[in-house]
């Protein structure tokens, strides 16, 4: 039974780390892996979310793709990370925490538009990168409070991406039935990749 369950320590460590960076926005059950997406937008059309407006969804999708871009695996928005986060905010978060996150997202959008005269999603790739760099560092036009928002935002994007089928089974190695425990195994024997730990 529970236990500050020390034998689940890898999982626990993971949860502790995420809690540290996300505060209470992610509930324990979300942290346990219950991430969700209700609306996939595989056609590329971004729609208003359950709680986020169309503008907020567009900005969220755009910055998600800067944080996790398309490589040999899909980008964040291609696996509907913005939809997953919207769902999390709508149904699975403390209401006050969700409202605070949305306010911070709005603040990011306002500061970005004031600085560039365009919404974030309308910027070219180079300007999106520069804005995200500034956000991550809390430098002009952003402040320290926005730097904390970046850390929280990134954690949500990472959770949503690596709990998707693409993220868990292509960007990482998904191994739902290992067949037993093998203590002497090599990363080089695992395509050089980490295992997804979200399957339990």
């Amino acid at each position: 039974m529970n236990k500050n369950n020390l034998f689940d320590s890898s999982r626990r460590e993971f949860l502790i780390t995420l809690t540290a960076v996300c505060g209470s926005l992610l509930s324990p059950s979300v942290l346990a892996g219950d991430f969700a997406s209700l609306s996939r937008n595989k056609g590329g059309t971004i729609k208003a979310g359950k709680i986020l407006s169309l503008a907020q969804m567009k900005a969220l999708a755009a910055i998600s793709d800067i944080i996790i871009p398309k490589t040999d695996t899909a980008s964040a928005s291609e696996v509907d990370v913005h939809g997953v986060i919207d769902n999390e905010l709508a149904f699975c978060s403390d209401r006050a925490d969700a409202a605070k996150f949305i306010n911070q997202l709005d603040r990011f959008c306002i500061l970005t538009k004031a600085d560039t005269n365009k919404p974030f999603e309308a910027l070219n790739q180079n300007k999106r990168l520069k804005c995200t760099e500034a956000l991550a560092k809390g430098s002009t036009p952003y402040k320290d409070v926005d730097k904390q928002f970046f850390i929280q935002l990134k954690a949500l994007i990472v959770m949503a991406y690596y709990t998707s089928e693409e993220g868990a089974s292509k960007a990482l190695v998904y191994d739902p039935i290992p067949g037993g425990y093998k203590g002497d195994f090599k990363v080089s024997d695992n395509q050089g990749k980490a295992f997804s730990i979200f399957h339990y």
């Binding site: 039974m1 529970n2 500050n4 020390l6 320590s9 460590e13 067949g179 037993g180």
Partner: protein, 574 residues
């Protein structure tokens, strides 16, 4: 499928009623049935069928309904306490009790997290399966420091019963020959990974009295034909155990003891039957049945038997006893001693430390092992050498995180994504499990007016850490950090939390065993001093908590008491 062993109403008088179908109740039912007695197993929750009802098992996150998320509203409505359990999530939530249906109170200024599983199989479906024998030290510590009452048994009394239950459930582990953690009847141990082997070597080189041994758990690491014949199979190292395991790779009532009991054709099971109280016959001084409230319809009914075993889980068992008042026992059945409800304990899980082990970059492991290395107790052996009384052991493991290592910093983009695809650095973690001293003031009682959904008085829990417990917390955190330093970890982070008791989910005591009827509820055979045909074999019976996970000891005590009772019953001595 017709299941003739499932009943609701009956006029039959059984040889025995067993209240609760968790780890203890399952064992008692099996033993009594195999001794030829007719048994009614009374379970407050719904039926769960092994395999069929493990609805969350094997599902990938992206395939879970509502993408696996437990909605905030549902948590607030039903799972305000259960949510605190590490194993609670959308794939397991149906195995946790609805906190709103069965509320409990805590005394002002105190807190206690009570995690419950109300279904056939009880918490055996969601337990953590770590299975350690207690040692001689653990049965004499009450006597040594004067806290609590002396156990009426010693290790030698329970040793053959440990062997008996271990052979049946399957316990993986290594024969280590350590006095404070006696060896079990083992299946092969789970392997240590490369970094754990390295840490073990360093630790044992530095200390003459400290060992790192592999943990022992009720998982079939390499099942023999005995287990395969039961339909149980090898552990796949999925670490989805609390969703239910269709392989039957870990011990639960449903995978192990219940099928054995059903096979005898002596067992009946009444699900959705919430026991309100024990029916007592003053003339014969015997328990003769139980008053039950239907879990769904709330109708009342009675079940009758010649003896009764209470295995409803520590606090629920004492709740039933306290609610069983009569002219003979005005404060609760079998409570002539006045200690019923008192000496509530949990384990102290508040102290831990983690650090980084540098190097070993290509080393990894495959699978999620259901146990991890243990450093057996090495303090206060034979005499008190520490600031605190009692003992603890350290449990932990070394592992590599996935994706966490890129959080909390300013990185993003392709390089970040590439870094996320690789495992993080090796982390070594130790958490302590400490013994909580038994204290009279830590107790449960019944609320004078508040009742639950079934009209049963709510439990009021009054339980706090003692000064000894708090001192031990500090020392255990230091021990964890010291151990990490000894094995070469860096960036060591030591943690002591202020969490209240309860979340170790090892609640024990409240109807303790003892030698003296004036200071204990049960004798050396888990039999009430006051009423010969009333037995308690769940955690309520414990006179101390030791530092090891207690379930294996519940199993051994349950099997021992059931066989004692069956023999006496056949000789008409109950």
């Amino acid at each position: 499928m017709i299941k003739p062993f499932l009943i609701q109403k009956t006029t039959e008088t059984f040889d025995a009623i067993v209240v609760g179908s968790g780890i203890s109740g399952g064992w008692v039912a099996k033993e009594l049935c195999e001794q030829g007695l007719t048994v009614l197993l009374v379970e407050r929750g719904p039926e769960v069928t092994h395999q069929k009802d493990y609805v969350g098992e094997g599902k990938a996150l992206w395939d879970l309904p509502h993408r696996g998320k437990v909605e905030q509203q549902l948590i607030e409505d039903q799972y305000s306490t259960a949510r605190k359990c590490y194993a609670f999530n959308d794939a397991t939530k149906h195995f946790f009790a609805n906190d709103n249906d069965a509320p409990y109170q805590t005394k002002a200024g105190t807190n206690f997290d009570w995690i419950r599983g109300h279904q056939l199989g009880g918490r055996s479906l969601i337990w953590h399966r770590q299975s350690f024998r207690w040692s001689d030290h653990d049965f004499i510590d009450n006597l040594m420091d004067g806290e609590g009452t002396d156990w009426p048994i010693r290790y030698k009394d329970i040793e053959p019963w440990y062997s008996y239950v271990e052979k049946f459930i399957g316990v993986s582990g290594n024969k280590d020959g350590i006095a404070t953690l006696p060896d079990s009847e083992f299946l092969p141990p789970f392997e240590m990974n490369t970094v754990e082997k390295y840490a073990k070597s360093r630790l044992e080189k530095k200390y003459q009295d400290r060992y790192m041994v592999q943990g022992r758990c009720a998982h079939l690491s390499e099942p023999t034909q005995f287990f395969l014949d039961q339909g149980r199979q090898k552990c796949m190292a999925r670490n989805q155990c609390q969703r239910g395991c269709s392989f039957g790779a870990y011990f639960s009532t449903l995978s192990s003891t219940l099928p054995a009991a059903i096979k005898t054709n002596k067992l009946k099971i009444a699900c959705n039957s919430v026991v309100d109280s024990i029916i007592y016959d003053a003339k014969s001084n015997r328990a003769v049945g139980v008053n039950v409230v239907d879990g769904n319809s709330l109708e009342n009914r009675e079940y009758k038997a010649k003896m009764i075993f209470l295995c409803a889980s520590t606090i629920s068992t004492s709740q039933i006893m306290l609610n069983s008042k009569s002219a003979s026992f005005p404060t609760g059945i079998a409570n002539s001693s006045g200690v019923l409800g008192h000496y509530l304990m949990d384990h102290i899980y508040n102290s831990s430390a983690s650090g980084i082990i540098e190097g070993f970059e290509d080393d990894y492991y495959r699978g999620q092992r259901p146990t991890g290395p243990v450093i057996p107790r090495y303090v206060n052996l034979g005499k008190q050498t520490e600031r605190h009384s009692r003992g603890y052991f350290l449990r932990g493991k070394s592992f590599r995180n996935s994706v966490v290592h890129g959080l909390g910093d300013s990185s993003f983009g392709k390089d970040f994504k590439e870094r996320m695809s690789k495992p993080g650095p090796w982390v070594m973690h130790f958490g302590a499990s400490g013994e909580m001293q038994p204290k009279f003031e830590n107790h449960i009682s019944l609320h004078p007016t508040l009742k639950d959904k079934w009209g049963i008085p709510q439990v009021v829990i009054d339980c706090c850490w003692s000064e000894n417990d708090l001192t031990m917390m500090e020392d255990m955190a230091d021990a964890c950090a010291e151990t990490l330093e000894a094995v070469g970890a860096v960036e060591i982070n030591k943690v002591t939390t202020d969490a209240p008791p309860g979340l170790a989910i090892h609640e024990m005591g409240t109807a303790r065993m003892g030698r003296d009827p004036e200071t204990s509820v049960l004798n050396a055979n888990n039999q009430c001093h006051d009423i010969p045909n009333l037995f308690v074999t769940d955690g309520a019976c414990m006179a101390s908590s030791a530092h090891q996970n207690p379930s294996l000891t519940y199993m051994a005590l349950s099997a021992r008491a059931a066989n004692f009772a069956a023999e006496r019953y056949k000789r008409k001595e109950l």
